[in-house]
Amino acid sequence: MKRSILGLTAATLALGAAAAQAEEVHVYNWSDYIDESLLEKFEAETGIDLIYDVFDSNELLETKMLAGGSGYDVVVPTGTFLQRQIMAGAFQPLDKSKLPNIDNMWDVIQDRTDVYDPGGDYSINYMWGTTGIGVNTDKVAEVLGEDVAQNSLSLIFDPANAEKLSECGIYMLDAPTETVPAALTYAGWDNPDDKSQEALDKAEEVLTAISPYITKFHSSEYINALANGDICVAFGWSGDVLIARDRAAEADNGVSVEYYIPSEGALMWFDQMAIPVDAPNPDAAHQFLNFIMDAENMAAASNYVYYANGNKASQDYLNEDVIGDGAIYPDQETLDNLYTVTPFGPKEQRLLTRLWTRVKSGT
């Protein structure tokens, strides 16, 4: 009798241990950035519990990475931020032997992301896109007339247009690293990545002139605002605007949204998946990266969020309204017109933030 109680206790203990070992992987990704059925698929395939959490600004993610102990296994910083975080020692090198699907990746994109993460030692590309103009086409035509070029930066950056459009609402990304290069491009500056005092002064002049007409500086609310018809223009990220287009179409509320890559040129950015140096479960993190790099899974994500990805093999599985849409997969001519930017150093960053506070608050 005694023995069987002991045996029972041992069995219970073993069960408890097994339960404690149930694996978990914590993923921290941008909001509205994945087909959520993929999360269930990952859990079904691997038996690992996936805890998925979202953010909407690189700054927030960066602070967690620099503080350490975030508890996340996979995070998704943008290239410029990734580069700085690699330098600060925030990520662990990828073990490529655990990532057989890495052969699916697209060399064209890898060449461009090499600037931020040479050789792709620390990260894989998840999605890439452009920063451009989201337009409520009917309202803009109503305010500015049918002939106005909706695909030009002047739609927002020309104060005369901005003033008229302010009555129906303009949202702008709360991200000076994206808006300053755009202001420089609008002003005809040679290098949108110029971080000199003269360049910043010029950008501030352009931004200050339109700042009174900006309804709000925010990096995610414009999806709903555009889709509901609350605003008529947003300076935002390609896929987010396309999600707004889709939501408006689904709601059938008479709002038609369009995304334009500015004809003057646009910023091309890359969101990279990386594993924090103190990730609790790096093994599961590698499994997640490998799962994401599967051609069909990556295609499912792109089909859902309307962003292009850095996965060549996935292109066979992309819907026609994704791979065939020049706003998502631009043609060669547009692609040549896209620029990339490099991170700001600490001194430059302070000037930039200060500039941005002045622009936003008018002080």
Partner: protein
């Protein structure tokens, strides 16, 4: 002995939850920004022995505080936060006092129900309540739709993303913190004092001003502190409801911390904010105590 333990508990609480974190913040405010994890230098390394600790202290300086003084952004933000917090506190008092007075004058069997009604909003998440205000105040929101429908206005009002929305948000959120302490003092108020005042020839209004209001002063002061102190450092409400020109110290702190990755300057901003709050409050309380002693 037992008394000592009883006194010790709140002091330990203060030490662990206020003094230690505060000293850490002060320490960071004296260091320099660096590209590392965590992003400041020097780090305190106890394994290095006394020499390392001495080196650590020589690396600290007041550079960041000098920087705060040199840039007018910070003073503007402090002043603007003070103004917003003061106006919100006054508005909350103007609304909260009559509500508390009404509750205290209600029949005793009604009071628990009224009390529950005041606390009820806390049962839902604070964030959800602020988000619902966005739904009410936005351009196509409930308020504008209703006013347009009734014909009171012909053009939608712009409330969302302005300072007015911030005031609405703060007053709404902190109202219970004003009502509850005032109600607590009013409820205990001895009704015979008012009768005595009237017997001695006071009108009802002047009895209210000469008896009720002075006696409820502790509640009013407690309520004002409970609203003013969190309002001045408020970050969530101005960032969700406020516009781009709403300058508050909470947002500046966020920018230093998140955008500039400058933890030392962010910590310096926090230390100065604390000084701005604590020094007047301590002076005020000392003055109150003196008055009380003089009264006795």
């Amino acid at each position: 002995m037992r008394r000592l333990i009883l006194i010790l508990v709140p002091y330990l609480w203060l030490l662990a939850l206020f003094l230690v974190p505060f000293l850490i913040v002060v320490k960071i405010s004296l260091s320099d920004v660096a590209l590392a994890r965590p992003p400041y230098f020097p780090q305190l390394d106890l394994s290095g022995g006394w020499a390392a600790i001495r080196d650590f202290f020589t690396e600290l300086d007041f550079e960041n505080f000098a920087f705060l003084a040199s840039d007018d952004l910070y003073w503007k933000a402090y002043l603007s936060s003070l103004r917003i917090a003061l106006i919100s506190t006054l508005l909350t008092l103007l609304i909260g006092f009559p509500v508390a007075y009404g509750m205290a004058s209600a029949r005793p069997e009604w009071r628990p129900t009224l009390m529950t009604l005041v606390i009820l909003p806390f049962w839902t998440s604070f964030l959800i309540r602020v988000y619902s205000w966005m739904g009410i105040l936005s351009q196509n929101g409930l308020l504008n739709t209703f006013l347009l429908w009734t014909g009171v206005i012909s053009e939608p009002l712009t409330i969302m993303n302005t300072e007015i929305a911030v005031y609405i948000g703060i007053v709404y959120t902190y109202l219970p913190f004003m009502i509850l302490p005032i109600y607590a003092t009013l409820e205990k108020l001895d009704g015979s004092l008012l009768e005595a005042a009237e017997d001695l020839g006071c009108s009802r209004t002047s009895a209210f001003w000469l008896v009720t209001v002075p006696l409820s002063k502790p509640g009013i002061i407690a309520g004002c502190f409970l609203v003013f102190i969190p309002a001045i450092g408020e970050f969530v409400i101005p960032s969700l409801l406020g516009g781009s020109d709403t300058l508050m110290i909470g947002k500046v702190l966020w920018e230093e911390f998140f955008n500039n990755r400058d933890w030392p300057v962010a910590s310096a901003v926090a230390v100065v904010l604390l000084a701005i709050l604590i020094i007047p409050i301590v002076l005020f309380q000392r003055n109150e105590q003196k008055n009380r002693e003089a009264g006795q």
